[in-house]
Structures are given as structure tokens and as C-alpha cells.
Symmetry: none
Subunit: 221 residues, 4 copies
């Protein structure tokens, strides 16, 4: 996923700088509000009030409300996956598969919590058939594909002590279920904000480990 341009401009002249800032502010407010209230319930008027810019300025920077949504999603996805990348860049060496998986999931939780807005919007769109707008729907697909790739890598790295091939087999078998667990845990957290995703992610780590070991055993037998 490549970095979405913050502005269409190319040089850094003053006028352009102002435009860039405005664009970023709109994107910011939109990300926040759309995640809070959903796409349909986030009006351009509110966005205008929130940013202090007139409505027409929003249309100067984004062609339409749905265009703004696309930009919000692209921007959010870029941020989210960059954070993921960073969070998982330096896993500790050694330890059991369960311990390694636990480390990955704890790092992931952090990223989830700081990008909850993006994830919530992603899930709302996924279910609201507002996704039918092609551009949005393909964005959603890509986010899920990228998410799965991350999950795959995490599992493979957790099981790397079993040998690269076995680890990859485990990862390929379990990555999708890992995503399922993440989505479910996120929803559980949304339902009861009382505590973080920690408990559920621990359970997920337990489950993935248990199943992973069965697969490892199967590979050997």
C-alpha cells in the first residue's frame, strides 16, 4: 500500500502550503467524525464547522463526499499498516511459539487501539453496503488482504523454530482464522469499552498456538 498524497501540489509555495494544511485538516476531521458516526451521518456541514473552512473549500480539495471517504480510507490504511510494520519490526529472539505469538499480538493491540477509528470505519463500511461504490469496496478488499499478509507473517515468525517450511504451513493454515479472531475481538471491545482487547487476544494466542502445534505434529507424523 503506497503513501496517499496529502496534496496534489508539487512545489512548496506558500499558497500550496496553505492548501496542503487545509487538506490535511479536512482529512483529519473526516477520519475522526466518520469513524465516530458513520459515513452517512457525517455531513459536510459538520466537517466545515469542525475545520473552520467553508463547505466549498472541502469540495475544492475533494471532488465529492464519497471521494473524501476514499481519501480517508486510503490515508487511514496507509497509517495503520505503517504502524503495524514498525510495531512488529523487531521481535525478540527465542521463546516458545506461544510467547512469540503473545508478543506479536500485544504489539498489534497497541496499533489497534491507536487506529481504532480507522478500523471501526472499515468495519462499518464493510457491512453498510455503502461499500458498493466500487472504489471503497476495492479499498476494503485490499485492507483485508494486507491484514492477512501481516497475520501470516506474524504466525510464521512465531513458529519459525519449527523450520521455515513448517512455520509457513502453519501460517498459511491459520492466518485467516487469526483475522477472524482480530475482527471478533475488536467488536467485543467496541461492545464493552470497559477493558482493552488484551484478554481476547490472549485467548486468540492460546487458540492459534494449540492449533499450530497440532499442525506441526501432523507435519511430523
Amino acid at each position: 500500500m503506497e503513501p496517499p498524497p496529502l496534496s496534489a501540489g508539487i512545489n512548496g509555495s506558500a499558497g500550496n502550503r496553505r492548501g496542503r494544511r487545509s487538506r490535511a485538516e479536512i482529512l483529519d476531521a473526516a477520519s475522526r467524525l466518520m469513524a465516530e458516526r458513520g459515513y452517512a451521518a457525517t455531513s459536510i456541514s459538520v466537517l466545515s464547522a469542525e475545520t473552520g473552512l467553508p463547505k466549498s473549500a472541502i469540495y475544492h480539495h475533494f471532488d465529492s463526499k464519497s471521494g473524501l471517504l476514499s481519501a480517508v480510507m486510503a490515508h487511514g490504511a496507509y497509517d495503520f499498516f505503517r504502524a503495524m510494520e514498525q510495531a512488529q519490526a523487531t521481535p525478540p529472539e527465542g521463546g516458545t511459539a506461544r510467547e512469540r505469538l503473545g508478543w506479536f499480538l500485544r504489539r498489534t493491540e497497541e496499533v489497534f487501539l491507536t487506529h481504532a477509528d480507522f478500523l471501526r470505519l472499515h468495519l462499518i463500511l464493510l457491512m453498510s453496503a455503502e461499500a458498493s461504490e466500487a472504489e471503497v469496496s476495492s479499498m476494503i478488499e485490499q485492507v483485508r488482504r494486507d491484514g492477512r499478509r501481516h497475520m501470516n507473517r506474524m504466525i510464521a515468525q512465531a513458529f519459525e523454530a519449527e523450520g521455515a517450511e513448517t512455520a509457513q504451513a502453519v501460517a498459511d493454515e491459520l492466518d485467516y482464522f487469526g483475522i477472524v479472531g482480530f475482527d471478533g475481538a475488536f467488536i467485543a471491545w467496541q461492545a464493552e469499552r470497559s477493558h482493552g482487547l488484551g484478554v481476547e487476544l490472549d485467548r486468540l494466542a492460546d487458540a492459534l498456538t494449540a492449533m499450530g502445534e497440532q499442525i506441526v505434529a501432523g507435519q511430523r507424523g
Copy 2:
């Protein structure tokens, strides 16, 4: 969860019958449309056009749009849990915990597929902060509580061969994770309608069994 009244009337006079039918039609259309497009994007006008009834008729039957939403949720929840009850009423005797769990989940899948509209709306509301409207939010809570109760019962029944007490301990430990798995599987299904929830629910059954057996072992040790 008690059956929501289809009509405010008490006797079955002819006039009332017509009213009852209208009310049911509105509720039906609302369930479908709100699940498709979300609450905010489902307008009374569209509802009126869809049912052929004038807008004022909708207000005759339901006090307000959010009142209609409550009724839709109440009705959907009632239907959903009644279907759950029926689907799981007569589990087969004998078999391993995994086999018994598999049976339960397969039955559950069926109910999920036929009540997908309700579940989707439930999840959209859960995340859209439309939930902040007290009435809706308490409805959501109750649905999740009831769902967990069902999950608890399913797990306990699956493990009943281990003795009532152990089975209950397993169920108490795992029911929440079961819900997480269900929610996640439902979302995965929404994302790629290509296949049913079957694969993911099988994985979930595997995971729950593996973790259940660990708990059983822990109880014994």
C-alpha cells in the same frame, strides 16, 4: 427475551387485522432496508415507498424513527433467539466434544444465514455510535448477553461427558471467546460472500475443543 407485540391492539377485529398487517409490513421492510443501508441511510420516505403506505401511517404505528428501530431490533432479536432455541433443541447423544460442538456450530450457521440482516444491523449499530441512544444501546447489550448464554449452553452440552461441573467450567471460560469467533466469522463472511461461514466455524470448533481439553486437563491435574 419476550415476544414483542406485533400490534398495540388487543382484539382481532377486522380493522385491527389490517393495522396488524400494515405494522408487520413496515417492520419487515425496515428490517431489510436498515440492514442493507444502515439506520441513518434508511429514510421514512423510502420505507413509505417500499410498503406502499403513506408516511403518516408509519408514524401511526411507531412513534418515531428511533422507535421503529427499537421495534425492528426487538423483533429481530426475538426471531433470532427463537430460531436458535429451536435449532439447538435436540442435540444428538454421544460423540466426542469436537463432534458435539461441530453439530452445534453447524446448526448455528444455519440460523446466522437466515438472520443475517438482523446480525448485520446489530453490528452496524454496535459500532456506529447510533448506539448512544440508550434504548438501542441496552437492546444491544441484551442481545450480546443472550448470545453469550446460548454459547455457554452449547459448550457445556458439548463437554457434558466430562461431568456437569467440569463442562460448566469449560463453558464459563470459553463462551466469550466463542462469541468473538462468531462475530469474526460473520464479518469474514460479509467481506467475501463467496462461501458460507462453514470453514471458519469449523476452525472455531477446533480451537474451542483444543482449549476446552486443556481446561479439562487442568481441572483434573
Copy 3:
């Protein structure tokens, strides 16, 4: 051209009566304003202010702005041709073709002046490619067809002393040119409101008579 319904209602209940009146008022204001300023320049807001009804009431009676335009045109055309019919119902007996034609055109001038709004709007639409909206464009066509039919009848009646067949031949030959003269005269009048269409219509009567007599002579020869 059949009478356009003033209201969709069927009975004369009080609520319906109010609606009927509102609908007529909107239609009235729209006819006037659109003819004055053109379709594009007549905003729903102004229409609302003019009638005292809220904008949404206008949309209650007419589906859209272009729907309102259609209704305005249909209503205007009906009124216009009914007035034409009446004005030409009882032509005087006897007299030369020129005298009879003069009578017809003088009667027509009257109708033109009292329905100038409709005619102006008709011509604006005819040229503004707002007519591309199918419904409007077919309305325009019909108006022109009906107009030609009237012109044909007038000429035939003016020349009836030459025998029905000859009169009809003259009418068939000249009706289209009569329309051309009318349109041109109307535009000339619009350009310089100083005097009525009288002078030009007299000239037109002269021209039609001269050409008619040539045709009559040709028929005989």
C-alpha cells in the same frame, strides 16, 4: 391536447381542496417566473417565497424541478389552445380572403398577448437545449403540431369562398409559413415592446393573402 389534472386527488375533501389550491398557486407562480427569467434562472427558493409555501411543499406536489416545468408547459399549452379555440370559434361570414384572414389574425393577436408568458417560455425552451429532457422536448413538438393545425384551419376558413378543396390546398401550402410569421412577429414584439404584434400580423396577412391568391390562380390555370 387534454386538460392537465390540477391535482392527483379524486374527491373534494377539505385536505384535498387545500392541496389543489396550493398546486395551482405553485403552477401559476412557476409559469410566470419561468417565462420571465427562463427555466434555469427560476429557483425553487424564489418559487417558495413567491407562493408562501415551503420548498418541500413544492416537491410534495411536483417530483422535481423539471417535473414542474413539464406541468407548467402542459398547463400553459392547454390554456393557450383552449383560448385559441374560443377566439376563433365564430368567424364573421362573407368578406374577402384578406378580410377574413385579418379577422383571424387579430383574434390570434389577442390570445398571444394574454398568453405571452407561455409562448416566451416555449421559445426559450425550444432553443435552450433544456429541451433535451425528452418530456419537455415532446411537449414542445406537440405544441408546434397543434399550432400548425390551428393555422391550417384559419387559412382554410379564410379561403373557403374558393371551394373547400382549393382552400385546403392553400392552407396545406401556407400553414408552416404562417407559423414562421407568428414566431417572428412574437420575437419582434419581444425585442421592442413599444407596440403590439398588430403591424407585423397585418403584414403577415398581406403576405399570406398574396401567396394564397397565387396558389388559387395556379389551381385554376
Copy 4:
């Protein structure tokens, strides 16, 4: 009518040349679009998109939208009358009045067809009460005056065999009716693009000839 300046500049420096080209492009697009959709419906945004120039560039060249309209009209009128001049510069010698008139009108038709945009816009403005904007209204007046002058000259030249004085008397009597016929024929052509203005202009030539001969006879008698 004098040639309208294409650019406000005075020398032909390179920078100026670019400005001149931009100005001409805007004028071109505006002529076309305003004639197609009317003045009100032609927005600066669309003009900007069509020319590829930023909106502010349009305001750089023309003070305001109505200033642009004036320029469009001035430019169109200049072009139109120059074409008229050229088309009628060398009438054939000899022939009857009808033949000579026919030649003039056929030449005129050509000019009408290649300047239909200008004529359409002229007529739309004439009727749309956008004409109330003084500048536009005086432009329209002048166009009509110039048109009449051309018509007068054509008729006089057609009847020149009757002697200069008589020819002028005929022209003075009929020029206005000639304009009426032209306008009407143009509208008829707009209404049914199926064929050119030829048929109607022939009829007009017939009519003018017939009436002209009557006047000639009157002069003599």
C-alpha cells in the same frame, strides 16, 4: 460595428501572445456553451474545465461573467456581420427581383448556419430578461438594427431595376417584415433540425417579392 479587441494588450510580445490565445479560447468556449445551454446555465467552472484554464484566468481576461457575455456577443456580432458583408458583396447582375432576392437569401442562409450559435444566444437573451442588464440589452438592439440595415440593403438591391427611389421605398416598407421572416425561419429550423432554412426562406422570398410588386404598382399608380 467595430472589431472587438481580442486582447486588452497593445503589443505582440510573447507573453501577450499567450494571453491572447487564452482569451480567444475562453471566448470560443463561452460562445459555444452559452449558445448551447443559455447564459444562466453556463458556469464559470464548466468554462474553466472546458478550456483547461483556471477560473481565475477567466476573471483575469474578463471582469465578470456578464462582462464575458458582452464580449461573447460583441465578438459574435462582429463575426456575423462581417460574414454577411462578405456573402453579399457581389450579387449577380440582372435577373428578376425574385431571382435577385433568392440569391441574397440563399447567401444569408449560409451565414445563418455557420453562425447559428450566435443567433441562438441572441434570441435566448432577447427573451430571457437577462437582457435587462443594460449592456446586453443595448447590444441586442444594435444587432437588430444592423440586421435590419442589411435586410434593407438586400431588398433595395433586389428591386434596383425599378429605380433607386422605388427600390428604397420597397426596402423601407419591407425590411422589418424580412427580419420577422428570418427570425421565424431560424426558430422553425431550431425546432426541427431535419432540414435547413431553405424552404422557409424561399417562401419568404416569394412573400417579399409579391408584396414588393404591389408596392411598386402602388408607386406607379
